[in-house]
């Protein structure tokens, strides 16, 4: 049993590096994943009887390369490419440990390749979870609430495009890399967001996805240590995730920031987040993830909701809106306005959003928009309008836990 736990642990630490090295040698992501999978299956059979090797990573790589050659020989699809593949596998083969690129470069090349803009956004996310994080197709399907068949098709289509259009898994030069990093950050961010507030699930938080996203962000900070936005992304996750335990009550219903038990926020994670945001700031190039992290830091360090530095929060939202004029950001800014200038000013700010031509996004299907209006109207003793706003929020909310919270608020305002 301990052996099994050992293999699971080794899978966690070795999968990414193994896939990254193999795809560099073989060039085919589908073949790479299948061969890496084969190697781990062989490990679960072989290690319990023969004992674990001293260098599990090297053992897995040698085994996976052998499996790749077997697969190439068996599969007609690869027949014409057999000589090149054999050469690729043997030139960089088990005997030579000298790699043309370092292991970190290979890993970054794989991650950047999975997030290639020529792939559909949902495919980028699925490929990253599969090839980098090592989740199974079934696990990814569950995480995104689609059938395994759908996810299999999505991954197959993506890998076919990678092969047929020859999307390269090579490290771009520095200039190109800085163009590609935002896409990588966005993919990891969408994994975190899905975990943090699942769009369709019955529970608000799916910690497994948050953990994967935090791990990916941490890996990315190792691969690209000097990019401020990467550090900002990591900081944002840590500062947000530190509140995980207090974001829902015992019934799984969301607890608003104002009502969360701050004593139970994870101070160690907050400290890590703060040190990341400090590191990002020292790199002297601001960006959206750093600003979001700065706002999260103001919340994480405030002694209470009322004692939050709302003026700074408001200022940060103003800067962010200059970069990304989206309706959702404008809504969050309006909430800061509430605490700086009061509910009348905030309601005016909220109601101005749908009319503003320069903001991207339609808030009508966004439950937070109606819920925010509902809260502000309730505060201004306009119960009927408040109730109507909450009704609208409930109607467009697809998350069961959030809907329960909205219904509770709707009953409280009466109207």
């Amino acid at each position: 049993m301990q052996q099994q736990a050992g293999i699971a642990e080794i899978f966690r630490t070795e999968w990414f590096g193994l896939v990254a090295t193999l795809v560099r040698d073989i060039g085919d992501l589908g073949l790479t994943e299948d061969s890496a999978q084969d190697a781990f299956i062989e490990a679960t059979v072989n290690w319990p009887t023969h004992g674990s090797p001293d260098r599990p990573g090297a053992w897995l790589l040698t085994t996976a390369r052998r499996k790749a050659i077997d697969r190439v020989r068996r599969n007609a699809r690869f027949a014409q490419r057999l000589p090149q593949l054999l050469e690729a596998v043997t030139v960089n083969g088990p005997e030579t440990d000298a790699a043309p690129t370092g292991p970190l470069d290979e890993q970054l090349a794989l991650l950047v390749g999975c997030c290639h803009p020529a792939l559909a956004p949902e495919s980028q996310v699925a490929l990253t979870l599969r090839s980098v994080a090592g989740l199974s197709t079934a696990q990814i399907a569950r995480a995104f609430l689609v059938s395994e068949a759908t996810m299999t098709r999505r991954l197959t289509r993506a890998k076919t495009k990678i092969r047929e259009a020859r999307i390269p898994f090579v490290l771009p030069d520095l200039d190109a890399l800085s163009d590609r990093l935002p896409a990588v950050c966005n993919v990891i961010s969408s994994i975190f967001t899905e975990g943090h507030t699942s769009t369709d699930a019955s529970s608000l938080i799916r910690g497994d996805l948050c953990d994967e996203a935090i791990w990916l962000a941490e890996v990315l900070t190792t691969l690209v240590p000097d990019d401020p936005e990467v550090a900002g992304l990591h900081a944002l996750f840590l500062l947000t995730d530190a509140r995980r335990a207090t974001r829902v009550d015992d019934d799984g219903i969301p607890v608003l920031l104002a009502d969360q038990d701050r004593a139970r926020w994870d101070q160690r994670t907050i400290a890590c987040g703060l040190s990341e945001i400090t590191r990002a700031h020292a790199l002297r190039r601001a960006g959206p993830f750093q600003l979001q992290a700065a706002i999260a830091a103001l919340h994480a360090t405030a002694p209470s909701f009322d004692q939050t530095d709302w003026r700074s929060v408001l200022r940060l939202y103003d800067v962010m809106l200059g970069w990304q004029p989206t309706a959702v950001l404008a809504l969050n800014r309006a909430i800061a306005v509430r605490h700086v200038d009061g509910p009348i000013a905030a309601l005016r700010a909220v109601d101005a959003i749908p009319e503003a031509d320069d903001l991207r996004g339609d808030l009508d299907q966004y439950p937070y928009f109606h819920a925010t209006r509902g809260e502000l109207l309730a505060e201004l003793h306009q119960s009927a309008d408040s109730a109507a706003a909450f009704d609208r929020a409930i109607a467009v909310c697809s998350n069961t836990a959030e809907r329960a919270h909205l219904e509770r608020r709707r009953r409280a305002v009466g109207g």
Binding site: Q80, H116, A118, E164, A165, R166, I167, P168, V170, P172, A176
Partner: protein
């Protein structure tokens, strides 16, 4: 690896012959083709006459149906193409971004099927 760059744009966005912008615009195309040649990436490339000159042909039940006009009527039309030979999609996308009418039109990048070798 060969890719076809399929160039589509709305002809009304294009500088017309005789206008002041036309000469420099054509120069951009010559320079672009020359750059492809110089890089050893050019396989072939052609500019097409307008869709008002297009004729479509279909064979149905052994019968030839000939129709005036393009395959699809739309404002954006295929104005030309390049076939380039480069290492991978990133290089192909790099060339696609430099096509002179990419600033107002659209370049579709399609891998060419390799049947043997």
């Amino acid at each position: 690896m060969k890719y076809m760059l399929i160039l589509t744009s709305n002809p009304t966005d294009e500088p017309t012959p005789g206008s002041k912008a036309f000469g420099p615009y054509m120069q951009e195309w010559f320079a672009y083709s020359a750059a492809l040649n110089e890089a050893g990436a050019m396989v072939t490339g052609e500019a097409l006459q307008g869709t008002e000159t297009a004729t479509t042909v279909q064979m149905r039940n052994g019968e030839r149906i000939v129709t005036d006009g393009p395959f699809i009527e739309s404002k954006e039309v295929i104005g030309g193409f390049y076939v380039i030979d480069v290492a991978n999609l990133d290089e192909a996308l790099g060339w696609a971004a430099k096509v002179p009418n990419a600033t107002f039109g659209t370049v579709e990048v399609r891998p060419v099927i390799q049947f043997d070798d």
